[in-house]
């Protein structure tokens, strides 16, 4: 800092100046920051244009939906299909910006307690009924009444009213400042439902099986429902009266193939246009080099991290946590668990949320020698079978609890080996998700837990995931300074002030070493050449997963390389760094210990088993002899 010359200050001044200017210009309509919301005054921006029309887009899809109510229960499979059937007030694009959907414009008051949305006027439901503010009001009241999945996200307890100022203007009023509202209302569980169908006293609730919309969903999206065979496929057809124009394609089909390898094989044999069931990363190079197939990657806001059980005395000493942190080689984990396509996570927050990301909140680098030193200093010496023990001689056995899945298994297996190289014994316990949640979150029955999670769309996630008040804070992380920072940031309307608070919180988070991030995951887009205007190419226009703009043509132009825009690091097409693993790995991963993880031993058990076996075999032989004599 001190060595910066005056020249170095110029960019800073320019940035400050432009920010000030921007703030002045935008002061008419201050917008609470989600992540760069884009304002549109003209509702017809984003209209669909079709250089070629017709055809069917087939998506090889990974999961079956649970029901056709997108707001009542968490349904990841439906979340991928919903943007084509339903609409929200605002949506998220592939850079997690808040973009217009049913609302073409919006305003926020200065302390972020009132949010006003201006709705489009030419919108009709798939059954022809006109869309008005009534639908919005009913939907959000239903979310509150029936405890929809967006209930907590939208802080329904603090929602005072959802009022229709007129047929096309809706205002949300909160009794407390809620700057994260815009991002959350663009996220999940906020799809607008048809009031004229659902609002009927003969229905028990919004999941009543006799509601026709639960068999034949009605939405305002670009496609309307045509057919559904459970576990097999979903067929949608273009809706002529979509408010941005009729989609270019005629049919949108989701073929459900949950098994990743089967899905991949189906795609490779020529079926399907998009492979949404992401194959294992080890297969990506092959897909990439298949003629006629395009593979794009983009960073996401999903991250794998581990947490130490702070209720266990052994973790309460920061040096122990530090030693473990320094034994983690993220490059190796990335290579072996994700074929090198993921991004090693070395900072407290994700670079993908660039505005809120503090690049200085870093974790200690890989240094196994230092780690061994620390462990020795702590008094955990290496015992006779290569594992470190407590001073009293019992082996330190760290239970690493993970949930099922190829990636978590991969990460855990590599992590186990890396920790064994510094002498720490790790036992992996793998559960399916339900049991994992009970053991880890409810019962705190673990030593280290591996978890993944979506950390967007708003940094308020720091509070929701890692504060002392968070249910999913399974590590029992409790730092009063961190807590107060993230709690305060949740109520501050000015994004720059918020930013500073989060920056400080991130530094504390990284310093405390209770949660250690491992990998930031990429998204893969695998599809056939010839398809254009895919949603991941239309940053700022297309909601995630919406194929309204897609068209097929054999235009020679390469589909845009502008897949990663704005402030995201890394990114873009094809294979990153390593494809040939060979030599590179062996050089970085020399184990100086002779025993990495020792093979299954248990000498005593073996002896007992051997003795029993001998007795049994002898008895059998004895018996056979007697019988043979008869």
């Amino acid at each position: 800092m001190r060595s910066l010359s005056i020249v170095g200050y110029i960019p800073t001044i320019l940035i400050l100046a432009s920010t000030l200017l921007g703030a002045l210009l935008a002061s008419n309509t201050p917008v609470a920051a989600g992540v760069n919301p884009i304002l549109r005054q003209n509702p017809s921006l984003g209209s669909i244009t079709c250089p070629a029309k017709g055809g069917t887009l087939t998506v090889i899809y990974w999961g079956d939906i649970k029901s056709w109510n997108p707001d009542s229960q968490v349904d990841d499979a439906l979340y991928g299909i919903a943007p084509n059937l339903f609409s929200r007030l605002v949506a998220l694009d592939y850079n997690y910006n808040v973009i217009p959907d049913l609302a073409y414009n919006w305003t926020v008051n200065s302390n972020a307690t009132e949010f006003t949305f201006y709705l489009r006027k030419n919108v009709t439901w798939h059954d022809g009924y006109p869309f008005t503010c009534r639908d919005v009001k009913w939907t959000f009241e239903a979310i509150k009444k029936y405890h929809g999945i967006a209930y907590s996200n939208l802080k329904m307890d603090n929602l005072v009213d959802v009022e229709c100022l007129d047929n096309y203007t809706v205002r949300f009023v909160y009794n407390a400042s809620f700057p994260a509202f815009l991002s959350f209302v663009a996220w999940y569980g906020t799809w607008i439902l048809p009031e004229h169908i659902f609002n009927n006293t003969q229905y028990k609730d919004w999941m009543d099986p006799s509601i026709p919309a639960l068999q034949h969903p009605i939405g305002t999206g670009p496609f309307e429902f045509s057919q559904y065979v459970r576990g097999s496929y979903v067929v949608l057809t273009a809706y002529d009266n979509y408010f941005l124009g009729r989609p270019c394609i005629d049919k949108l089909v989701y073929q459900i193939i949950p098994d990743a390898t089967s899905a991949e094989q189906t795609f490779l044999s020529g079926t399907g246009d998009i492979l949404a069931n992401t194959p294992p990363p080890s297969d990506i190079p092959q897909l990439n080099s298949t003629p006629g197939v395009i593979v794009k990657t983009m960073p996401t806001l999903s991250r794998y991290y581990i947490g130490f059980n702070m209720l266990e005395p052994i973790f309460q000493n920061r040096d122990f946590r530090l030693a473990i942190a320094m034994s983690i080689n993220r490059t190796e984990i990335n290579l072996k668990a994700y074929n090198g396509y993921a991004f090693p996570a070395t900072t407290a927050w994700l670079p993908g949320m660039s505005f809120w990301w503090n690049p200085n909140a870093t974790y200690p680098p890989y240094d196994p020698d230092k780690a061994r030193q620390l462990l020795d200093q702590l008094g955990y010496k290496v015992g006779p079978d290569g594992y470190r023990t407590f001073p009293n001689g019992t082996i330190i056995n760290l239970r690493l609890v993970i949930f099922q899945g190829a990636t978590s298994e991969g990460i855990a297996t590599v992590l186990k080996d890396e920790l064994s190289r510094v002498g720490l014994k790790v036992t992996i316990e793998e559960y399916e998700i339900a049991t994992w949640e009970t053991k880890v979150v409810k019962q705190r029955d673990f030593d280290i837990a591996l978890c993944d999670g979506f950390h967007g769309p708003d940094p308020h996630n720091m509070y929701l995931r890692y504060s002392s008040y968070a249910y999913i804070n399974f590590a029992n992380y409790s730092d009063p300074e961190f807590d107060s920072l993230v709690a305060k940031a949740a109520t501050v309307a000015d994004p720059n002030v918020r930013r500073q608070l989060y920056f400080q919180a991130e530094e504390i988070f990284a310093r405390d070493l209770v949660y250690i991030p491992l990998l930031d995951l990429p998204a893969f887009f695998i599809y056939r050449a010839g398809w254009h205007n895919m949603p991941w190419d239309l940053i700022g226009t297309a909601p995630i997963g919406c194929y309204a703009w897609a068209w097929y043509g054999t235009a020679p132009t390469t589909t845009t390389t502008s897949s990663s825009t704005t402030s995201t690091p890394a990114s873009s097409t094809t294979t990153p760094a390593q494809t040939t693993p060979a030599t590179t790995t062996t050089t970085t991963i020399t184990s100086t210990q002779t025993t990495s993880s020792s093979p299954p031993s248990g000498a005593q058990a073996l002896l007992v088993a051997g003795a029993v076996a001998v007795v049994v075999v002898a008895a059998v032989g004895f018996y056979l002899a007697r019988r043979g004599r008869k």
């Binding site: 087939t58 090889i60 649970k66 029901s67 109510n69 229960q73 968490v74 990841d76 405890h147 999945i149 209930y151 907590s152 999940y188 999941m207 099986p209 639960l214 045509s226 057919q227 459970r230 576990g231 097999s232 496929y233 067929v235 089909v253 073929q255 459900i256 193939i257 949950p258 098994d259 089967s262 899905a263 094989q265 189906t266 490779l268 044999s269 079926t271 399907g272 399916e432 998700i433 339900a434 049991t435 949640e437 009970t438 053991k439 979150v441 409810k442 999670g453 979506f454 950390h455 996630n461 929701l464 995931r465 968070a470 249910y471 999913i472």
Partner: protein
């Protein structure tokens, strides 16, 4: 005969109730319940959402009370509503059951035919080359893990030879259509699953039929027939086989149980949307009602199959009929 049947039915009934109760209790003792699963599937578990669901579904009541309610409902034909799909369980099961039957029943039937046929072939010269070869094939087939065989078959026929479609129910191009093409395509997709299952069902038939035939061959009446000058071929197929087929029928009941287990694994590999997959999903989601419904159904199917087998066997075997 009638008393025998009623006896069996009555005792089966009580056993069924025990089976249901045991399963119900095991499932409910498992960590996690549908509410926590639903809650866990967001990235951020919210306590009040879980609480809300728990109360809505009555999951906070004691196990015994829920078991009683469940059994009561079952006797009225109400299998409940699936937590996950919000559809009646019976509807879900009946939607999927035909698909599972579409691969298990043909595999049992073909297994029966193939096993019996191969056994007769092998018995023409007991101990000879064909016998040893076929026995090894049968034993090997029976010993191989069914999912591994499935993977190999997909690799061979679908990826390398490109003869058959790999997985799924139908090709996506034919989605939504309903004609002959559609069913033909579905049949094509069913070939590999059926072949895989058949590799597991034919060996028991082979073994059983072979041992019965060999036993029969040393019986008096065969010796007599041969002495009378009948060609061996005729002796085998006309007389011996008829007696040999009978024990094969008893296997059918056992095969039903195996078929469902195999179907679960095979459906997983081939992404065949039958009852096996539904079961696996239901376990993961702790969808109590659906799980119990499937258990009930499969148990019932096996029980009924066994009773039917007993009856048919009793009818066909004159010794028992008069007995």
């Amino acid at each position: 005969m009638r008393r025998y049947v009623t006896d069996r039915v009555v005792s089966s009934f009580f056993v069924l109730i025990s089976v249901l109760s045991i399963n119900f209790i095991i499932i409910n003792l498992a960590p996690g319940n549908p509410a926590t699963i639903m809650g866990a599937e967001t990235g951020l578990i919210s306590q009040d959402y879980i609480q809300y669901l728990t109360q809505k579904w009555g999951l906070d009541k004691p196990v015994y009370e829920r078991l009683a309610v469940y059994l009561w409902n079952v006797f009225h034909g109400d299998l409940g509503i699936s937590y996950r799909y919000a559809e009646p369980v019976s509807q879900l099961i009946f939607e999927r059951i035909p698909l599972t039957l579409a691969i298990t029943v043909p595999s049992i039937v073909i297994g029966f035919l193939v096993g019996t046929l191969l056994a007769t072939l092998a018995c023409r010269k007991p101990g000879g080359g064909l016998d040893v070869g076929l026995t090894t094939l049968a034993m090997g087939s029976y010993s191989a893990p069914i999912f591994w065989v499935a993977i190999l078959l997909i690799n061979a026929f679908s990826v390398r030879l490109k003869l058959l479609p790999p997985t799924g129910l139908v090709s996506p191009q034919l989605i939504g259509s309903n004609g002959f093409d559609y069913y033909l395509d579905m049949a094509k997709h069913a070939i590999l699953p059926i072949v895989t299952l058949t590799l597991g069902t034919f060996p028991p038939y082979y073994r059983l039929t072979k041992s019965v035939i060999l036993e029969q061959l040393s019986e008096d009446y065969v010796v007599t027939l041969k002495a009378m000058g009948l060609p061996r071929f005729r002796v085998l197929y006309k007389h011996v086989l008829r007696n040999a087929l009978l024990p094969g029928i008893t296997l059918f009941g056992i095969q039903m149980g195996f078929a469902f287990a195999g179907a679960a694994l095979v459906e997983n590999v081939f992404a065949w949307p039958g009852i096996g997959r539904l079961m696996l999903d239901a376990i993961m989601a702790r969808d109590y009602n659906l799980l119990m419904g499937i258990f009930l159904f499969v148990t019932l199917a096996v029980v009924v199959a066994n009773i039917v087998v007993d009856l048919v066997y009793g009818y066909l075997d004159p010794r028992i009929r008069r007995g």
